[in-house]
Point group: C2
Chain length 459, copies 2
């Protein structure tokens, strides 16, 4: 049996490794377009500043490592097309330029996501970058080395934009941030957006233009970026990182006839099967169910890529009717990022998202201490819990500040376990002075929230 995996970052390599573990006999080839496979893409912003000390550290495994597990990983190989009827592939070797045919019995598509290039006049000037692949980071770092830009502009106030802003600032650049939406971190409520904005200003990212769009990139006459124009304003910048968003990479699957969901990503069932026979998909190119809304969703994140890769790889190795196939239930939309000293995390739905999904919500946001007040190093944290007013169930949480990672994970687990506000009032979490206030911020927020429910038995 021959298994081919298209794409060799998180989901693709995980699928290949799982398939090998499930079936020592299966023949496995991974085609990867970029020069490296098995990249920790989430670490790219930290590579820019040297916080992560070298590009090799982001390469989790080399093709040689995979060869030891009898997995063939071919980098700089682009799969051009898939013929699902005859189970054939057309592949270009990007090093030699040669195109060849290959066959498969089973196929896993893990083509990932791509940065959306800015479609603005001047976008081809030297000094404008996306940050998606390790090769992007290479280009940015070379530009920084050679041109030593002093002023940087980051387009996009989502988590990648914010992480990049921090890391360019760490290099001593004067960093400006532009966000077209009215707030930073659009997946969050306004309270958290304002906490982030305050923290950025405090750190010296002094020019925040939320609600403004870059209209033109301006050159220096020699093809190099000099500034950007926003309305009346011109902002000097010798480097721009445009983290305006990513898009699932589905052209290969779509051309082969795979069904694309309304999110724009490849439609899959709980076993990560596409609509094509013997073809699975995983990672950033695939949809995943949102367990809170019950609707298909798309949220390209590294942990989900690993988890869906595990399911797709196992099932591809076992075959569609194999015993022991796995199911991936879906996601909650859990995420976290760090911007300077501030941790910001979210799980489930924001108030806005919940209302859009048809929930009537009751919510409470509090600011409290992250440790016992008398214990040295106690910090502050904001936490907001969002419950469905009908059932009392937690459907979303947002956290910003110290111990955000802990609190968001507790809330994610609570949503996964369908816990209600009253559960969270009484829940037995761990307490000791170095680790939190006597009652966890989650419990404190739930207690405030319980007062907002009319029916007393929910309080």
């Amino acid at each position: 049996m021959r298994l081919v995996v298209v794409g060799g970052v998180a989901a693709g390599t995980k699928a290949a490794s799982r398939a090998r573990r499930v079936d020592p006999e299966v023949e496995i080839t991974v085609y990867q377009e970029e020069p490296e496979a098995s990249i920790s893409e989430c670490g790219l912003p930290y590579l820019l500043s040297g916080k992560v000390s070298g590009r090799d550290r982001l390469v989790a495994r080399t093709p040689e490592d995979f060869a030891k597990k009898d997995i063939e990983v071919l980098v700089r190989h682009r799969v051009e097309s898939v013929d699902p009827e005859n189970k054939r592939l057309s592949v270009t070797n990007l090093t030699t330029g040669e195109t060849f045919e290959d066959g498969y019995d089973r196929l896993v598509i893990a083509t990932g996501a791509r940065a959306i290039p800015p479609s603005i006049p001047g976008a081809d000037l030297d000094g404008i970058f996306a940050l998606r692949f390790l090769t992007d980071a290479d280009r940015i770092m070379r530009h920084i080395r050679e041109r030593t830009p002093e002023k940087a502009l980051v387009v996009g106030g989502g988590y990648i934009g914010l992480e990049v802003a921090e890391n360019l600032h760490r290099l001593g650049m004067e960093v400006s941030l532009v966000e077209a939406a009215g707030q930073l971190a659009g997946a969050y409520g306004l309270e958290v957006a304002e906490i982030i904005e305050g923290h950025l200003r405090e750190k010296g990212v002094h020019c925040l233009f939320t609600g403004e769009e870059v209209e033109t990139f301006l050159g220096d006459g020699k093809g190099r970026l000099r500034a950007v124009r926003l309305g009346e304003r011109e902002i000097d910048a010798e480097i721009v990182i445009a983290g305006v968003g990513v898009r699932p990479q589905v052209s290969l699957a779509q051309a082969a006839g795979a069904e694309i969901g309304k999110t724009g990503a490849i439609r899959v069932d709980r076993r990560m099967r596409t609509s094509l026979p013997d073809v699975w998909a995983a990672g950033d190119c695939a949809e995943t169910a949102n367990l809170v809304t019950g609707e298909p969703g798309w949220l390209p994140l590294g942990d989900t890529a690993n988890q869906t890769g595990r399911v797709a790889g196992t099932n591809a190795a076992l075959g569609p009717d194999g015993e022991g196939t796995l199911e991936f239930p879906g996601v909650l939309g859990t995420g976290i990022f760090k911007v300077f000293d501030l941790g910001v995390g979210k799980t489930g739905l924001s108030e806005r998202e919940a209302e859009r999904a048809g929930f009537k919500v009751v919510s409470a946001g509090i600011e409290t201490g992250s440790k016992a007040g008398y214990y040295p190093g106690a910090g502050k944290v904001f936490i907001k819990l969002i419950c469905d007013s009908k059932t009392g169930r937690l459907i979303g949480a947002e956290v910003a500040g110290d111990s955000a990672d802990k609190l968001v994970d507790v809330c994610a687990t609570a949503i996964w376990g369908r816990l209600s506000c009253s559960d969270l009032v009484n829940i037995d979490l761990a307490y000791a002075p170095p680790y939190g206030p006597t009652l966890s911020p989650v419990i404190q927020a739930a207690t405030v929230l319980s007062g907002k429910f009319r029916t007393s038995d929910r309080a």
Copy 2:
């Protein structure tokens, strides 16, 4: 309506505050035997070393603070007896020595727990202390100031003993630790006990005698502690902290006729009502259901004291038939402590406890990174998950190392939500390189554990 609360630490003051909030009219008196009320007792070990910078920092609220909320808090007042038939109390003012009578309509008993004094020859020598009340810490600190002991011995390797060992070591003392049981931290499995022991040795707490009991305290002939004898061995020590355990303080309730559970603590229902009419109990003196075993349990911890105090105070204010009374479902046995740089936490049952409770268990323990491996400052963490082999449900978890507080809270929430191993394989937790490895240690351990379940649909 007159509400009397006996005991003014965590549960008692919380009950009083909640009662005030529920009913602005109720007359509230709190009798507290010690000279201060509303003490953060969990901070006491850190007071010894100066890590917490002054005793006042551990006094969350003074009687004057409570007076502003129209709650009378009388310190140095000991309730000698309760007459539940006539709803009368006998109280001694420990300052004046005077005894007087008081009456109540409703009563909350929050008499807490007491340290078990060592019943060993020489236990009355100068230099042997328990650490339970702020006044104990005062005495210990005075002894340290006046005698400047160089060698300390801690009796008891539970969390208080371990915290005390760290804090005496911080003061420059040579610290030895003795534990009568065969392992430290007896509520945990052997793996964690060994991690703790290794960490203590590394930090220079070089004399660990697990499985040995102090037989005699030896004096210097002037009534002062000089050494302790263990079998053949004599260990020099000018100060001993005997953290050998605590016992619920139930004499008052028992003499009044309240039912005492088989744990030795006051029996209560989910509304924290005792067997006496109009008498509630909360905090360290009361039992709480163990939600994993379904059996009554006793686990004296500050967070539970706050939560049960909230329920008892609310219900006492509302009355036995009041609308909106609260229920406290029980606890999981969640706890955490820090010993030097090591965080150690637990929730649910250890393997030993689970087997004793009649479960057949499947477990997996792994050591993994606490952050993305390439991110600076990544540490190590050991995590062990314990599942019921019949249902696949998580019934216990132990963690030791970096991010222990986060992981134990995730596991506690998972047990509360009755999640199974397969839930934890797929659960959507927050990932970013500064906060954890791509897949949370909980997910990693669950994935290993899932391989141990035969039936594939649980994997």
